[in-house]
């Protein structure tokens, strides 16, 4: 119970920070102050809050869980590629969006798209697609909160209650503190979970009696040795993952965060330190996730390994629903928590649990971004701000925060997928496919609203198609994929144990390429915006 009490103290602290920010607000009624902290964040808060907002439950629980099942490949798949692609997009896109926001007062990406391409309802369609894709991200946070509190309390706090507590705390400080509260909480959380990785590595390493013998033992086990290499993952699949980080800059909450910097110089530290911050958190988590396979005296870990073994050896003969159950049983989202329970002293397990909660609760920025988008892109755009005033707009934003959190909580209770799969398959791929919108808006004079519409509709259709395909065709047992369509021996469409493959690539690759092609082709044959509009962007 002691670790759970420490985590509850942590939750009280972040709640206090959010409410403190509410008291510091310049005006509780001004939209720009509530939603963007008056575009005044300093360098330290900007770096840590921008990084923290992009790290979710996924960074600690998902990474170690994925590494537990797939091995060291997890780091190269997500962390190192993100360490290159995300700062590059912040460097090229984030700085430009910041400058346009300062010049023209934009508060959301859709406001910029509407102005850049002289469109109205097409902007609303982009808003809808962004909103639908963002909700799974919020669900991940709530699911991670439930999983964490349940594991830290040794099962005393049930999943549904843990999720509810996390949802309530996040909702409260976003509700009161707006962007300022969210940024401060994110900064506090980022410092916590950056410390988490190093401390967890040392504590668990000492507890295990060093990692050298554990790695040697894994290497001599035929079932575990592949986890120390990447032989279970195809190079095409590995390459596909480098497209996923394109999603970061297309996520509205990241782009909106880019608008909060006081000066553009604040981006410098962010792009330089971003790869190192990712390494500090992901490297220990991935390594510990792999090492969890050598912990034989934790019954929950043994049960996961047994489920994995049954799936691998008898999976082909089992019905799909039994395979799904085994997959869920073998999922390692809580292995790092189990390791802490096994090796860390109680008080330290509590502190480290708070570090995990810090990562888990990054859904605050997504909730605030959705609220900002709703009030600016729908409420204000359709004339309600003029009619009811700015105070009502901020009130609407707060009501929206309550409603979206409640909705995400209800869905989180029903969602059967593991944290990692849910995030990757829907939100990340979809936002990566929307990234050509930003590139075209900022760097190509010839892009048009019809190109933007084609890209957006394609993204929505492709995400829906992948979701429907995966719900109709059951995942095969570990091993060869189920080929659904082939031409001349080439596998066009396959159902893999982990998802879908198109020509051996993850769906995100064709999604992004077709998205970009649609933007180019449709823009070439449709009318460009007026010269006066273009002059605002390409002076």
């Amino acid at each position: 119970m002691i670790p759970a009490i420490v985590v509850f103290l942590y939750l009280a602290t972040v709640l206090y920070i959010g409410i403190f920010a509410f008291r510091r607000a310049k005006s509780k009624r001004e939209a720009e102050d509530y939603f963007l902290a008056s575009r005044s964040l300093g360098p330290f808060v900007f770096l840590f809050s921008l990084f923290g907002t992009n790290m979710t439950a996924f960074a600690i629980l998902g990474s170690s869980g994925h590494a537990f099942s797939n091995g060291i490949v997890t780091y190269g798949l997500m962390a190192s590629s993100s360490g290159l692609v995300i700062p590059l997009t912040i460097f090229f896109v984030g700085t430009r969006v910041w400058a346009l926001g300062k010049k023209h007062g934009f508060m959301t990406p859709v406001q910029m798209f509407r102005d850049r391409w002289e469109c109205g309802h097409i902007g609303t369609i982009i808003f809808l697609v962004q909103a639908v894709l963002l909700v799974p991200y919020i669900i991940i946070g709530i699911m991670g909160g439930g999983t964490t509190l349940n594991a830290i309390s040794g099962g005393f706090v049930p999943f549904w209650f843990g999720g509810a507590i996390v949802a309530m705390v996040v909702m409260s400080y976003v509700f009161f503190g707006g962007m300022r509260g969210t940024a401060w909480v994110n900064t506090f959380q980022t410092v916590l979970f950056l410390l988490f990785g190093a401390i967890a590595l040392i504590v668990i390493g000492v507890g295990m009696g060093g990692f050298g013998s554990a790695v040697q033992a894994m290497q001599s086990s035929p079932a575990l040795a592949p986890l120390l290499t990447r032989e279970r993952i195809s190079p095409l699949y590995f390459f596909s993952y480098t497209f996923i980080p394109l999603s970061a800059i297309a996520f509205p909450h990241i782009l909106i965060f880019c608008l909060t910097a006081r000066r553009m110089n604040q981006f410098k530290k962010t792009v330089i330190f971003y790869p190192l911050c990712i390494m500090a958190i992901w490297l220990p988590c991935v390594f510990l996730g792999v090492m969890a396979n050598r912990v034989g005296d934790v019954p929950e870990i043994r049960a996961k390994q047994e489920a994995r073994r049954v799936l691998a050896t008898q999976g082909k003969t089992l019905p799909p629903e039994v395979r799904d159950d085994l997959r869920e049983e073998s999922a390692g989202d809580d292995v790092i928590l189990l390791l802490l329970q096994r090796y860390a002293p109680l008080w330290l397990a509590g502190l480290l649990g708070a570090g995990i909660m810090a990562a888990v609760m990054a859904s605050d920025s997504q909730i605030l971004a959705l609220s900002t988008m709703f009030t600016e892109d729908v409420f204000a755009y359709y004339g309600h701000k003029e009619r009811f005033g700015e105070a009502v707009q901020v009130l609407m934003g707060r009501i929206f925060i309550v409603l979206i959190t409640m909705f995400a909580y209800v869905v989180a209770l029903q969602a059967p997928e593991t944290i990692f799969e849910l995030a990757i398959q829907y939100a990340f791929s979809g936002f990566a496919a929307l990234s050509p919108l930003l590139i075209a808006a900022l760097f190509w004079k010839g892009s048009t609203k019809w190109g933007a519409l084609a890209t957006t509709v394609w993204t929505a259709a492709a995400v829906a198609a992948v979701a429907i395909f995966q719900s109709i065709v059951p995942a095969p047992a570990p091993g060869p994929s189920t080929v659904m369509w082939s031409i001349g021996g080439a596998e066009v469409l396959s159902r893999t144990p982990g998802g879908t493959a198109v020509f051996g690539f993850m769906p995100v690759v064709p999604m992004v390429i077709i998205s970009a092609l649609l933007m180019i082709v449709v823009s070439l044959v449709t009318r460009k915006p007026a010269e006066t509009t273009l002059a605002k962007y390409f002076s």
């Binding site: 290499t229 990447r230 553009m264 790869p275 390494m279 002076s539």
Partner: protein
């Protein structure tokens, strides 16, 4: 020339991410316990940070901030 060099550096680092040469081996174990594939990718993260430093140093879009200041001055004057 500077920009061409930086563009080549970005492309090279992206290509180097696909380290197929360490695909099927864990050896050598760096520091006695880190599989070489994981160590390589950690070094890749450090290289990415160095590349970002080069971009900030030699290709920083400072004109954007000057445009913002100019725009603000024009608004104040109006």
């Amino acid at each position: 020339m500077k920009k061409l060099f930086l563009a080549l550096a970005v492309i090279t680092l992206y290509v180097l991410h696909q380290d197929f040469w360490f695909w099927r081996t864990a050896y050598p174990l760096v520091f006695g316990f880190v599989p070489v594939g994981l160590f390589y990718q950690a070094c890749f993260s450090v290289a990415a940070a160095l590349l970002m430093w080069l971009l900030v140093k030699f290709a920083w879009p400072g004109h954007l901030e000057r445009e913002v200041e100019q725009h603000r001055d024009e608004e104040d004057a109006a």
